[in-house]
């Protein structure tokens, strides 16, 4: 399967439908090459990809910051160009860069966003949001008096100011301390309980692994794969067991042909790859077969391929 041919079956309750989305910047650079993707209502979706993959471009188009070159996007059934008001009303965006005003107070800047989205004043809601982000004590502080982490919190509060159905977090944990990271994940989980869809971009695998329901991998402007995280983990999350042999082997003996084996370290190590989730892993029979073939080992180790291995594998395959 070529990545550009990647297609997903249409989900019945997609909150965002992206179809054939492409972006060629004025420089001529093709940042997105026909991305088709559906985000399900209420899920946490991680868009995973290295720097420059096109994550921010994708988000920026959905949110109205960048004009698409081709393709369509619908948010909650509303086209982002023709029906931009309703599409944008549904979305909250926490941008990658720390872009905040300087002289406004925290409370005012959050209220400002609410106004921009056409929502009536609601100090109680703003208070609740600020409290959930540990910003309530800072409500009367000017934004420029805050630390970087606090500014990030302000951006999140602003994104939530109009009670969006969909929240975009663009590299939310880049340069963020542990406390904020924890708070943020707690908040994301709380939001999901209330039915909010969360889409986060990251190039940290652990983040996708820890948080997401589904993961999409993007590289060079192409969506390489979209998969339930658990399915992805079990499908591609294969396990390896390596036997360090007492006597190096020239080749794998024919009696072991039935096993998925690879010889390494100049014949000194035999690696068996298997599906850890399968009912029969075949390890027992392999060890039996090794003894019968007169192969003894001094040590063995097992390794679970993480999302990171999967990701690196996919990206390498593409390059």
């Amino acid at each position: 399967m070529r990545p550009s041919e990647f297609r997903e079956s249409s989900a019945p309750d997609a909150v965002i439908r992206i179809d054939g989305l492409a972006k060629r910047y004025a420089t001529g650079f093709e940042a997105l090459k026909g991305v088709t993707l559906e985000i399900r209502r209420g899920e946490i979706f991680a868009l995973l990809g290295p720097n420059g993959a096109g994550k921010t471009t994708l988000i920026s188009i959905v949110c109205g910051l960048v004009n698409p070159s081709a393709g369509t996007v619908a948010v909650d059934g509303h086209d982002i160009v023709r029906d931009y008001r309703r599409a944008r009303s549904a979305i909250g965006l926490v941008p990658q860069e720390l872009t905040t005003d300087a002289f406004e107070t925290v409370f005012d800047t959050v209220s400002f966003t609410r106004g921009l989205f056409g929502k009536p004043k609601d100090p109680a809601y703003v208070e609740k949001t600020l409290r959930s982000l540990s910003l309530w004590d800072k409500r009367d502080n000017k934004i420029r008096e805050l630390s970087g982490g606090m500014k990030r919190r302000v951006l999140i509060a602003k994104a939530l100011a109009h009670e969006p159905q969909v929240l975009f977090l663009d590299e939310p944990t880049a340069g963020v301390d542990v406390a904020l990271r924890q708070d943020m994940w707690n908040l994301v989980r709380e939001l999901r309980e209330t039915g909010v869809t969360v889409i986060l971009t990251t190039h940290y695998i652990e983040e996708a692994e820890e948080m997401a329901d589904r993961v999409g991998v993007i590289n060079h402007g192409e969506l390489v794969l979209v998969e339930e995280k658990t399915a992805l983990m079990s499908k591609l999350g294969r396990k390896e067991i390596t036997f360090h042999l007492r006597e190096p082997l020239a080749s794998v003996p024919p009696s072991l042909d039935g096993f998925d084996l690879a010889l390494g370290e100049g014949g000194g190590a035999l690696t068996y790859t298997y599906d850890a989730k399968a009912a029969r892993t075949g390890i027992n029979t392999l060890i039996e077969a090794l003894r019968e073939a007169g192969i003894s080992f001094s040590d063995l180790e097992t390794k679970q391929s993480s999302l990171e291995d999967i990701f690196v594998g996919l990206v390498k395959e593409q390059a």
């Binding site: 910047y25 004025a26 920026s60 949110c63 109205g64 910051l65 960048v66 004009n67 931009y84 008001r85 309703r86 599409a87 944008r88 009303s89 979305i91 965006l93 941008p95 860069e97 872009t99 905040t100 005003d101 300087a102 002289f103 406004e104 005012d108 400002f112 966003t113 609410r114 106004g115 921009l116 989205f117 056409g118 929502k119 009536p120 602003k158």
Partner: protein, 253 residues
Amino acid sequence: MNWRAVGAIYGFEMARWRRTLLQSVVSPVISTSLYFVVFGAAIGSAITAIDGVSYGAYIVPGLVMLTLLTQSISNASFGIYFPRFSGTIYEILSAPVSPVEIVLGYVGAAATKSVILGLIILATASLFVPLRIDHPFVMILFLLLTAATFSLFGFLIGIWADGFEKLQLVPLLIVTPLTFLGGSFYSIKMLPPFWETVSLFNPVVYLVSGFRWSFFGQSDVGVAISLAMTGLFLVLCLATVAWIFRTGYRLKA
């Protein structure tokens, strides 16, 4: 219409102004007062009345226009340039706000500020020279029209500029010369015929002339032509703004 968004942007811009109210108001008042001391009192006493109006009073409409133009442009251009520069524009662009609403918020606030300042300058002037306003409604009309038009023009500069230098460039290289050569301090009838004709290509001439007519009932150009020219410039600016939002020029990649 998303009126709450218009209100939010307008309120944001007015709050920004209030934070620096002292310097925003004091510096134009001081510079205008200096003009009066120099041109009105010191030099003006040596200049005969123009069209039957004492020189000190004659320059008042031009001075108010000068303030109105420069303040409208600088307020509106900075108002939209700064979010572009700092990146906070993302919020406006990702909000369910139409171009009309964005313009109403930014340009409305800039125009409000400059009208307030224009009135303050007028009040300051009345301390130096006896003033009469023959056509107060026309005066208010010109005040509003000019403030709106040049705030819109400033908004365009703020979108076009890609650096702080460019932000200063247009006001410095174009607007200030046009204002000084636009008959703020003299009647273009006092110029040699050739330069009088050249002056008619200067849009500021029409503004100052029409505005002065509302005070003294005298003008270099007919008041109807003045209004028409101001209206034309307004339409030009509106068309350009509409084009910018349609294409995303300098706002969206």
